[in-house]
Symmetry: C2
Subunit: 679 residues, 2 copies
């Protein structure tokens, strides 16, 4: 293999066709930008330029002047370190988001060309990649979104949803478990419009993949149920790439995996096919040699006019494509006004009017139930009024209580259904939901597992927060209170670790009304492209007097109060709030002035005015007892210097939930005792 490649890489192109020049224009923009920044990854753009050119020039349907055109094909560079490939494509194709000046500012403060592709910085970038394996998993989500919308809206005589999702991924992506999880599901679902190009260059940061990655990747994808092809010479055989892409499109009942064997750093005489080309500037001398070798006569950052003109045909093509689609849509609108209304509502960026009126409300006479069940009730109350809501669980649907009753399973050929069955694939689930959210079509994805298993999917949750993906995370079994499953399943530090993530709003409701409040925030935030993580318990909880949707939206509020300034404030969240209410009742009966503050969300509370926060937690009241069945980590800001907390600062233990809670001090009596210790 290496020998053959070595030959290819020294094959200097004598007379270049326009297409070859187009491909080299990608290569040298990448080379020059990385060299100027003295930072970045030239190797992938140099090797993957031919497949990217064929795809973008001959197949990809997009409109550079309207990067958000709904029916565009989605393109994902899962190997995000090769982002100069994508920036070059955006610039060359005529997007306004990336100018030649932006490329010169590659990886600089405030630029549109950051070190990895960021959808929130650069129009034309669909998802945020770089953490390996995420992009291909996002691609599965994008393709699922397309399949769902197509099944829901398309008519035999009017296909308004009809696009492909193309992904370029590398060796690193294929080594990551998250890609395996998502691709296994993608194969199961038969996502025929998902096409992945595997940049098979056999080099990763540590050198040849021979040191750690010798599996038969194509065979693995066959095992997943994908349609698999191999382009043996991805460096020069444009027609083979094109043919493979066409063949992939022709297979409509399976996703397609095209292994395209390439040479990393193609064209660099001394660095091609080595890790030297992967993640550092080639250097002045090697760049000169590469220019000579590839016959590229142009100074840095210059693309010859003919070449740019060819690339820029994308603008007219794109305009035509959108115009054509507009006609299709106009026809659809005429024939199917009701569907159109729903479709337009999805795309409007707004939620249906009065959707929140469907949120269940509870009174103290309602029975005690677990918040995972009030969550179920809420999801099912919202399902009819929020048709955008689509989601499911990582094989815990009946434990997480996440099934939308009567809305069927999203399966091959049943893409109109709304219950997603992720299998035991938490990480893939999160990344898929990011893809669904970032499809940008108004869908609100939710996904669920046991709270402790957010550890499996944390990288995806972080990317929801970073890349503005409006995902709702529904996490149940939230403390030692889950009982017998024991410490492997009992979250302790998990809540703290999630509260620490910027842009992620964590809400732990105390009862039914607070559950409704949590969903009110979560749905609104999803609509505003912000993720929310909801935390629910397994054990039954009473419906509390004074709990409210509005209270939750403020993050924290006074649930029960004394007259005048309290002697002590009990601060609590979720399943421990009711215990605090009972303790406060007893303490009050003894003459103590006790306030109970329910604080379901730190992030929401921090957003309130200083006055409001002071009214809930006056600085002067320093005797504060925090009660949460979790780690004290992070709570000191509320505890203050004279407060205390009943916390779990070790791992949990296998025992029935009530026993575990009691042993760790979560009883009304212990709350009373600790409160009295504070004075």
């Amino acid at each position: 293999m290496l020998t053959r490649r070595k030959e290819q890489e020294i094959m200097v192109v004598a007379t270049q066709t326009l297409e070859e020049l187009c491909i080299n224009s990608i290569r040298f923009l990448a080379i020059d930008a990385v060299e100027k920044a003295k930072s970045g990854h030239p190797g992938l753009p140099m090797g993957a330029a031919p497949m990217a050119f064929v795809l973008w020039d001959r197949l990809l349907r997009f409109n550079p002047k309207n990067p958000k055109w709904f029916n565009r094909d989605r393109f994902v560079l899962s190997a995000g370190h090769g982002c100069m490939l994508q920036y070059a494509l955006l610039y060359l194709s005529g997007y306004d988001s990336v100018t030649i000046e932006d490329i010169k500012q590659f990886r600089q403060w405030g630029s549109k060309t950051p070190g990895h592709p960021e959808n929130f910085e650069t129009p034309g970038v669909e998802v945020t990649t770089g953490p390996l394996g995420q992009g291909i998993a996002n691609g599965v989500g994008l393709a699922m979104a397309e399949a769902h919308l197509a099944a829901k809206f398309n008519k035999p005589d009017a296909k308004i949803v009809d696009h492909y999702t193309y992904v370029i991924l590398g060796d690193g992506c294929n080594m990551e478990g998250v890609s395996g999880e998502a691709c296994s599901l993608g194969g199961h679902l038969g996502l025929g419009k998902l096409i992945a190009l595997y940049d098979d260059n056999h080099i990763s940061i540590d050198g040849s993949t021979d040191v750690s990655f010798t599996e038969d990747v194509s065979k693995r994808f066959e095992a997943y149920g994908w349609h698999v092809q191999h382009v043996e010479d991805g460096n020069t055989d444009l027609e083979a790439i094109h043919k493979a892409l066409e063949a992939a499109k022709a297979v409509t009942d399976k996703p397609s995996f095209i292994k395209v064997t390439t040479t990393i750093g193609y064209g660099s005489p001394n660095k091609a096919n080595s890790a030297d080309a992967h993640g550092a500037a080639l250097g002045k001398d090697e760049i000169k040699l590469t220019r000579d070798n590839l016959g590229w006569e142009y100074p840095e950052f210059e693309v010859p006019k003919d070449v740019l003109n060819h690339w820029r045909k994308a603008i007219e093509r794109g305009e035509n494509l959108e115009t054509e689609w507009n006609k299709t849509f106009a026809d659809y609108k005429h024939k199917y006004p009701e569907d159109t209304a729903v479709f337009e509502q999805y795309l409007s960026g707004k939620l249906p009017t009065d959707w929140d009126q469907a949120l269940p409300k509870y009174s103290t006479s309602d029975k005690a139930i677990a918040t995972r069940k009030t969550s179920e009730a809420t999801l099912n109350a919202l399902a009819p009024v929020l048709p955008q809501l689509i989601g499911g669980s990582a094989d815990l649907a009946h434990s997480n209580n996440t099934l939308l009753k009567g809305y069927g399973d999203f399966q091959k050929g049943q893409y109109q259904n709304r219950n997603l069955r992720f299998g035991v694939r938490e990480h893939g689930m999160g990344a898929i939901c990011n893809g669904i959210a970032l499809h940008g079509s108004g869908l609100i994805p939710y996904c669920a597992t046991f709270l402790v298993f957010t550890d499996y999917m944390r990288a995806a949750i972080r990317l929801s927060a970073l890349s503005q993906a409006g995902v709702i995370y529904v996490m149940t079994h939230d403390s030692i209170g889950l009982g017998e499953d024991g410490p492997t399943h009992q979250p302790v530090e998990t809540i703290a670790s999630l509260r620490a993530i910027p842009n992620l709003t964590v809400i732990r409701p105390a009862d039914g009304n607070e559950t409704s409040g949590a969903y009110k925030v979560a749905v609104e935030y999803a609509n505003q492209h912000r993720p929310t993580l909801l935390i629910f318990c397994r054990q039954n909880l009473p419906q509390l007097a004074g709990s409210s949707i509005e209270g939750v939206t403020k993050g924290g509020y006074i649930l029960a109060d004394s007259e005048g300034t309290p002697d002590i404030i009990l601060i609590s969240t979720g399943s421990e709030v009711y215990m605090c209410v009972e303790a406060a009742d007893k303490l009050s009966a003894e003459g103590k002035k006790v306030r109970v503050v329910s604080l379901p969300s730190w992030e929401l509370f921090d957003k309130q005015s200083a006055e409001y926060r002071e009214s809930v937690l006056p600085k002067s009241v320093t005797k504060r007892l925090v009660v949460e069945a979790a780690s004290s980590f992070g709570w000191h800001r509320y505890i203050g210097t004279e407060g205390a907390m009943i916390s779990v600062d070790t791992f949990g233990v296998s025992a029935p939930g009530p026993v575990a809670l009691e042993k760790f001090g979560y009883t009304v009596d212990n709350i009373i005792a600790k409160a009295k210790e504070l004075g």
Copy 2:
């Protein structure tokens, strides 16, 4: 398929052989224990009992009376929810750790039979499983440990290291990405003594795996380079199971994957082959029907004497096996005294004398270098004196600087080497290192990636902490200071999220001496079965006056001080400490009394006496400025009510490291300004 299974499951056994009774003894112990606890998972033990019986009765080499016998085969129940299978096996085979009383206490407070297998609770359990996919990945680590020790110590005429690692895993394990990562590497490494039995029962919590998991698992393992077999009737065909296991053992250059098709809840007339048998007690009536169906005439928790006698032959077998090994070892000891000394040192549970004398020491005249490089220097200084040290990186060896120079790559046929090449498989890497540590042979595994990618492997890190696995995590590129790679690669909340994990010690050293201090703690902790996570930076840092190994071992110490009580304390960690020292110098020149506290590890500092902590951070000094290039989350306990922090509470940004640091306020001037604001 289902039809055939249905037939099997109603095949009532008329006259039972002793072996069938042995198998049913597992089933009914599981059924009865789950019923008594009203909690647990009977389905897997009922279906997997035949394969477990064949393995434990006919092949597994172990000594029930010495669960820690070095050369035992390792058995891992990766599908940990089926733990009653393992407890039944331990009890039946005669381990002292699990009595019939313990089984009656299944999942109760303080029992030896928790809800998932926990190595730290139950002798005979090798690793902690339950979070799916971890056990099989641990198994890869166990097999790597065996391969390494065998290559290092065995002689043609004396094999003192010679055991198999057997794993039972289920559908859930096979859906998780972590298992794919580890098994791909296991195939690459050709771990011939790793044998996995896949309990292919087609049922997970949500019901039939048809809803989400229809890939060809066997083909996937073939693609990984495993030897793959299929036992079509795992319910009754004991000889087929036995034959497959023998065939697996005969393949010495590949790990083996045996798909054993079984019926979950085998024997239960109404619940077999359904999710009802998975995770809940069968219920009194169904248990009666199951007893009838399987012809099990014995009351709950009773195992007939003949059956128990047969099982208990394991005791004599085990004693003989150990005696035999002792002879081999005595012979080895005689012939190879030097190797024996090293081997015994490994197994002694102690570190080599004076190992820590090898830790590099630095003075202020030494050049400024990044702590990732002082980490490299330390690893390489320790490599000769700590032959137990073995590890590597997730394809970032040259960025994490983790190569042990001159110690070769651990590869197929080169298992004596010490540089592990994990590929881009962070999660698998962590779980593999847990396996290596829990092999219990003194090996000290370390593993590395960029700090932000601890998110990918967090579930494994948590299990290190929970299951007392002495792993050293070497995490580099620790802040926005890494620069151009941008927010996807820049940790912000990551340090806080790791500090929150119980039993995990996090250390962020400020220079070379502190790096040595960090490794001093990490190696000692690893030896004490505790994980440590070390955090290193990418940018160069000066060697500080007053920094010390001893200081690090205390977690926090005074690095620079004023005379008398300071007006203000600057508290810092890692790459920001030197800035605080410079700021303190300038403030001192202006007449301020400033103390600089280096606080590389909260966990270590919290372990010090109250007096020591007060001497470093006197309560009376409330003007405190914390400087750490990370989230403020959790810092309030040190900041106090009158302090402040220069923190990063949003995601980072792509820009050169110095620019990013400056923009976020990490400059000497800004530290001075903020310090002055405090008064």
